[in-house]
Assembly symmetry: C2
Homo-oligomer: 345 residues x 2
Amino acid sequence: MAVTLKDISRETGINLCSVSQVLNDHPRAQSLRPETRQLILETASRLGYSKNQMAAAIGKKHSNVLAFVHSDMGTVEYTGRIQNGVIEAAGERGYTLIVHHIGDSPEALLRKLTGWRVAGVIFHVSQLRQIEPLAELLDHEKIPYGTVNLSNPDGIGVTTDDAAGVMESVRYLKESGHRKIVYLYTGKSEVIPDIEYKIRRISGFESGIRKIYPEETPYLQRIDYSRSHDLKYMESVLSDLLKNQVDGVICESDVLASALNNIAFFKGYHVPEVFSLIGFGGSMISETTYPMLSSVVQDFEKMGKIVTDSIIDAIEKKKGKKIQNQLLSVSLQIRHSSIQRKKQS
Amino acid sequence: MAVTLKDISRETGINLCSVSQVLNDHPRAQSLRPETRQLILETASRLGYSKNQMAAAIGKKHSNVLAFVHSDMGTVEYTGRIQNGVIEAAGERGYTLIVHHIGDSPEALLRKLTGWRVAGVIFHVSQLRQIEPLAELLDHEKIPYGTVNLSNPDGIGVTTDDAAGVMESVRYLKESGHRKIVYLYTGKSEVIPDIEYKIRRISGFESGIRKIYPEETPYLQRIDYSRSHDLKYMESVLSDLLKNQVDGVICESDVLASALNNIAFFKGYHVPEVFSLIGFGGSMISETTYPMLSSVVQDFEKMGKIVTDSIIDAIEKKKGKKIQNQLLSVSLQIRHSSIQRKKQS
DNA sequence: CTGAAAGCGCTTACAG
DNA sequence: CTGAAAGCGCTTACAG
């Protein structure tokens, strides 16, 4: 059926293991005569040889497959972009990627992963505790793993520096003459959200205000996410903002910013005249609203690439690299939903 | 390291191949004493056995891996949703999924796929000719493949019935009192687009008009996509629409509908009062614009599931199933960007 | 009905 | 420096 090493060996009359070595660029292959190597390479390509990766994996007792495991969370746009980065990095270093949902029981998933003897796994979930049981099992099997857009204490993890992004937004608003700014986030109850990125963004806002508007106390407004399509509810949110003479709004996400933008429009107030609006993420939505949203853009592809590279380093035991959480900088992209305010005289 | 069949065999004192058979639920395992089977099952789970899929694949001479191959096209949202459907179907039937970009040369990609001895491949690309060279190679290797959101003549392919969706939109507009409707699509030049879904949607509009507005000739308007963020250009598109007294607009995509909605807002015209607007896709964007877009919604997950199931049927030679292109129905979801018009007296 | 054996396509440790 | 051999973890055809 498919052409094998044995076929090449028979065809060329060269020992099978020499063939293997040449095809794998093994150092020992250097000792063969150049023309022999040439012959092997040629007939391999002539015959359309492609190494059976599974046989190779079982022969060398470890595979080069990585797993990308994600939960159904947030935007599939972000998950997709992260995955694209992961694929790219994996491909560049000769690994293939299998993908799974984190739906199953940890044990079932672990079975699937170990069934393929995965060399490493990349997680995209919103809370560390979603992967905790699995992570323990992976540790036990000594399979390296990492998280993206979620930090992984003492492990491999890549996040964007969301706090800095929010702080930069605060600074930008200050510099463009805003006097009263608010941070909007979503959550189900009054209790502090336990999603990491929410916490990071909130704390970025709080320290931003303390630093840049030292005379103010941070003004945060929680939105009940389940009601963010509820007209009456959103109207009340809006009128609160107006009542408080807010002139700058930073939102936890582009979707939230878009919802606020819409309700304002609906009530006859136009962004950015009524207040400046800044979203978070740099998603497609930030470019399809009117006006286009200023937004803190995150490089999801890069996050994916970096965790993947770190995991592969760990697999290949590059000891030079220190395993630790990495923070990627974000950039505030100014579009049309925010403007310079006149200084009040 | 990892526990193997041999370990279980040693531990239980039972012949290795009996162990294999029991663990695989092979018919022959039925002939063993129940307590023997029980013992095997128990110690397997006690030892944390997970079958080495690669060894299994090379033993049985075919693998159960499927590949999802996509190009960087359109929204990553759609690609992601399709992939989710693919993963689900694959998982249910015991296949694992590897994913690749169709970036490389066809030969390089084929090498990667055959390297894993993939049993089948799912393509998500916008034009058949993007996969043509690869498809030929796959045919030659007798590896079944299918396309999603793109029909595959004489092969496995799943598309949504976009023509019907547009036609339904036309009918809906007629029934809600609209008199003059237009279809907006994007394209680079005057030449007919060669992207299948564009053609399907256009022809759906044309036949819809012929059937439902027999006195009218289909009014189509092409938008230069590269200029869809160009204010002046979009203004001219809008004023054309107004000049022609259009009261219903069907757009090729949600993104396009959103762009039109925005420019109208900018010029002081409000959808749906100025005209009804219908998008296509049912993407996240259709829910974040203001007003929320009526849209023809496509079930991307289902498309993914169906191709995957069909491919697996082909792999497993379920002959009952006929290989052919499948058409999924779509549904027009009415939201706030379209309204009932008063009958003119 | 059961068990011992050969084979899948590789890799690598081990003699010459 | 080279070659013949054993081994990886499975599956399955083949004798008893």
